[in-house]
């Protein structure tokens, strides 16, 4: 009954999304506002309907309605209540429904905004958002229906169908397979929703961009309207990536947080173009330049969001993060192709009306430095994109080799793997350049700056950064790449802090105390100083990445009870190992390991291996001691069965890795500051109120 309700809500939401597209198009064509209003109402209704559909599925999951195929696939008796509920996004069909629900929520929110100034854009925003929603709902209804039930025929054959076939009886398995062990982690409860919100929220700026292209509006209205939407999308996407990294660090037992896995990269690519877009729109707002570029960036971002979803869900790539192979791949491919081609065709049509209002005049202007920033982001995107698609290209090209035997030695059809070393080596220099630019570009003036003006702003931080470099050398650091990258971080950090100091100093002249000056400095110019805070977060993250990437140490060894293994100034001692079962269906082998630093006892860690009976999968959970200086990360690799007289451990010392997470907090805080409504808006409201009172 509940499942029927969910399915009907889903079906009606799909029909309404189709209707919204048609009504908005008709209303625009016939210039009849009532049709557009009707389309808006239909678009708004999608959210409550999909809320009903999601709630029905969650209800079935929580109550273990195993007649539903989806519930059997991702839930089980042994799972705690919160995991049963979050299993909504633990499988292909449920996560597609969840994706659509979020999409409908954003459509709902954008439809409720004040449209008076943007009547011409409205129908096209409805069409783009509703078409995207309709596409996802079609995938759910026709390919990945989470409400399908099991039925059993007289012969004992079990199959799935929405409603009872003739002669069949309901089939209810005794228990389900349970959630993939990798997903039974607090990080996995929050990470997918954050990532999905980031993904779906980008549909709003994209919809406005397409609306501007269709209607031929060449002003920057669409950018101003969507600035906060874009920041929200970017905030959640960043949060999703950071949480995903933390999850990988805690659960995957790699000793690291980022494995350059295709699915990780798929989520990272829209972030790259989104970040470039956020920088580039400032140029259009301020100088009326880069109009084509901004359109292209938002089209790319949206298409990469869909492309990432396609990679994760089609099964074309092998990844720990991917869902199983599915029939939806070709549909996704067709949708991405259609979206990309139509968007580019529209951009081409409006090319001449989107010309820059002014020319670039100097290499040392803020706009030119932002352009270089954008090109660097695009360079990293190219490397990531090519690394992700090459395995598919190498395999697919086998057809050419088979068709033309002379070329068979080139087009072998053998699948290639592109591992982390490719991405790290190829993107490293570009990241360094980006980091350096992050410190300098915001200080350059619009239109034209001179080396002298720029030099005046940065010479003091530059000198102090050289002192930091000298300190690192005196401290014994000899890795040239490490020194260079940490110097860049120190320089950019100092430049940014100096900017805060200069601003606060100016306010202190007005008699404000330092705390007031600092607080009001940020409050009165949130976009600028929010941006600087984001940059501070990025520097902290960069320091963490440099620490683990360049200075990580690792060793592996088999230890008898009481024996020690050494790594740098640390050593670990194997004390004991216990095996026990847990109520949630795990067989746990947990070691007790003592950690020493320079021979002195530091702490005790408990690395373990969890074996899940339901899925027959094992998880390696590290024992972890975290400080700002480093993490001691111990993995239990193997052990002597029964006697546990010896065990194999892998020990990592990960310098500075915690800076990644703390940097993430600063980064998120900065984004919140930058996206918070400006204080200047308040007097406007006050003025309006005053005017109304006067009139009364």
């Amino acid at each position: 009954m509940i499942a029927d309700l969910g399915f009907f809500a889903l079906l009606v939401a799909f029909l309404l999304a189709l209707y919204a597209c048609a009504a908005a198009a008709y209303g625009h064509w016939r210039k009849q506002a009532r049709w557009v209003a009707s389309a808006r109402s239909a678009a708004v209704l999608g959210f409550p309907l999909l809320t009903v559909a999601c709630a029905s599925l969650v209800y079935s999951l929580v109550n273990l309605d195993f007649q539903l195929q989806y519930v059997t696939q991702v839930s089980s008796h042994s799972m705690p209540l919160y995991l049963r509920a979050t299993a909504l996004w633990g499988g292909q069909a449920g996560s597609l429904l969840f994706w659509s629900w979020l999409m409908a929520a954003f459509t709902f929110a954008v439809m409720l905004r004040e449209w008076r100034r943007d009547r011409d854009l409205e129908p096209w925003v409805i069409i783009v958002t509703s078409a995207t929603l309709a596409f996802f709902l079609a995938l759910i209804l026709f390919f990945e229906n989470p409400f399908l039930r099991y039925w059993q025929g007289i012969t004992g054959t079990v199959w799935t169908a929405m409603w009872q076939p003739a002669g069949a009886q309901p089939y209810i398995p005794m228990d389900g397979n349970g959630l993939n062990p990798l997903l039974r982690h607090p990080g996995m409860i929050i990470h997918p929703p954050m990532l999905y919100i980031g993904f779906v929220a980008f549909v709003v700026p994209f919809a406005f961009a397409i609306a501007a292209l269709v209607t031929g509006r060449s002003d920057d209205r669409w950018i101003r309207v969507t600035r906060r939407w874009t920041l929200v999308a970017w905030l959640f996407l960043s949060l999703g990536l950071i949480l995903g990294s933390r999850w990988a660090y805690d659960v995957l037992g790699w000793g690291g947080y980022w494995g350059w896995d295709p699915v990780e990269i798929a989520a990272f690519m829209p972030w790259l173009t989104g970040t470039a877009f956020l920088h580039s729109v400032m140029i259009q707002e301020k100088r009326g330049m880069f109009k084509h570029w901004n359109m292209l960036l938002i089209i790319l971002t949206y298409c990469l969001v869909i492309f990432g979803t396609f990679l994760t869900r089609s099964g074309v790539l092998s990844s720990v993060h991917a869902f199983a192979q599915s029939a939806i791949g070709p549909m996704f491919f067709a949708f991405i192709s259609l979206t990309f081609i139509v968007s580019l065709a529209l951009l081409n049509k409006r090319w001449s009306t989107l010309r820059s209002e002014v020319e670039m005049t100097s290499l040392l202007s803020r706009e030119s430095l932002f352009l270089i920033n954008n090109l660097l982001f695009m360079g990293i995107l190219l490397i990531c994109f090519w690394g992700v698609v090459f395995p598919i290209v190498s395999e697919a090209s086998g057809g050419i080799g088979r068709a033309i035997p002379a070329l068979a030695h080139i087009f072998t059809g053998q699948r290639a793997t592109v591992g982390p070393i490719f991405y790290e080596s190829a993107t490293g220099p570009l990241w360094a350049a980006l980091l350096l630019l992050m410190g300098v570009a915001p200080l350059a003036a619009w239109r034209a700056s001179t080396a002298r003006t720029l030099g005046r702003t940065i010479w003091k931080p530059f000198i102090v950064s050289l002192v930091v470099l000298a300190g690192l050398l005196v401290g014994g650091m000899r890795n040239p790449l490490g020194l260079l990258s940490l110097w860049i971080c120190a320089f950019v950090l100092l430049v940014t802090i100096y900017e805060f100091w200069r601003g606060a100093q100016a306010r202190m002249q007005r008699g404000e105390n330092p705390l007031q000056a600092f607080w009001r400095l940020i409050g009165r110019n949130r976009r600028r100083y929010g941006g600087y805070i984001i940059h501070l977060g990025v520097i902290l993250i960069a320091v963490g990445i440099i620490g683990i990437e360049m200075f990580q140490q690792e060793t592996q060894g088999r230890l008898a009870v009481g024996e020690r293994m050494h790594l740098g100034s640390y050593s670990i001692e194997y004390e004991s190992l216990a095996e026990f079962e847990t109520p949630d269906g795990r067989l746990v082998d947990r070691a007790v390991v003592n950690v020493y630093k320079d021979g002195a006892f530091l702490t005790q860690l408990y690395p373990r291996r969890d074996f899940y009976y339901e899925s027959q999968q094992a998880m390696t959970i590290p024992g972890l001691r975290s400080t700002l200086e480093n993490d001691v990360y111990v993995l239990l690799v193997d052990w002597e069965a029964v006697s546990a007289s010896s065990a194999t451990f892998k020990l990592y010392v990960n310098p500075l890795v915690n800076w990644v997470w703390y940097g993430g907090f600063v980064f998120i805080f900065g984004t919140l500051v930058a996206s918070w409504p400006e204080a200047e808006l308040r007097p406007v409201r006050q003025r309006l109120r005053a005017a109304n009172t006067e009139r009364a």
């Binding site: 494995g259 080139i410 087009f411 290639a416 793997t417 592109v418 070393i421 034209a448 193997d638």
Partner: protein, 157 residues
């Protein structure tokens, strides 16, 4: 043109840098777990979902690591171990595809893209440089906030 050549050479250097993972010295005697892992780091198990061999927890991968240890003990060099695994299980086990045939595109496309972007940027460079020469005469379009900040700081001095 000279600038373009410099960018091109740098890109080729980048490509060369990407295509050569750090070498592990040939092992004498029984290899340690660290020596095995240093080689396993650049190999992938074809049955696992994109997890490097040195950190993969499956029994199959443990066997593979054992095989690497045996090969190293027999005197195989790091490259010979990679070649052996690629011959046995296909090139997909290698963390980087060998630079031959279509695989060259892995190493050539990104530098070419960067060269192209550099070229497009460089084409406009001369024009901007000319403008920059006269930048002292050009009025800068600073935002109101930055201007007022500079003025206040100047007044303090």
């Amino acid at each position: 043109m000279r600038r373009l050549a410099v960018v091109f050479v740098l890109s080729l250097l980048l490509a060369a840098c990407v295509s050569s993972p750090a070498a592990v010295p040939t092992v004498q005697g029984t290899p340690s777990a660290d020596e095995v892992n240093a080689v396993a780091k650049n190999l992938y198990c074809p049955v696992c979902a994109n997890v490097p061999l040195d950190v993969c927890g499956t029994a199959a991968c443990a066997q593979w690591r054992g095989q690497i240890a045996e090969l190293l003990a027999e005197g195989y060099s790091e490259q010979q171990v990679y070649d052996y695994f690629a011959a046995q299980y296909g090139q997909s086990v290698l963390a980087l595809p060998p630079a031959r045939g279509l695989n060259w595109l892995v190493y050539v496309i990104p530098p070419l893209g960067i060269v192209l972007a550099g070229f497009l940027l460089g084409r406009n460079l001369a024009r901007w440089k000319q403008s920059a020469a006269g930048a002292a005469d050009l009025p800068t379009v600073d935002d109101d906030y930055a201007r007022s900040l500079e003025e206040e700081l100047k007044a303090r001095r």
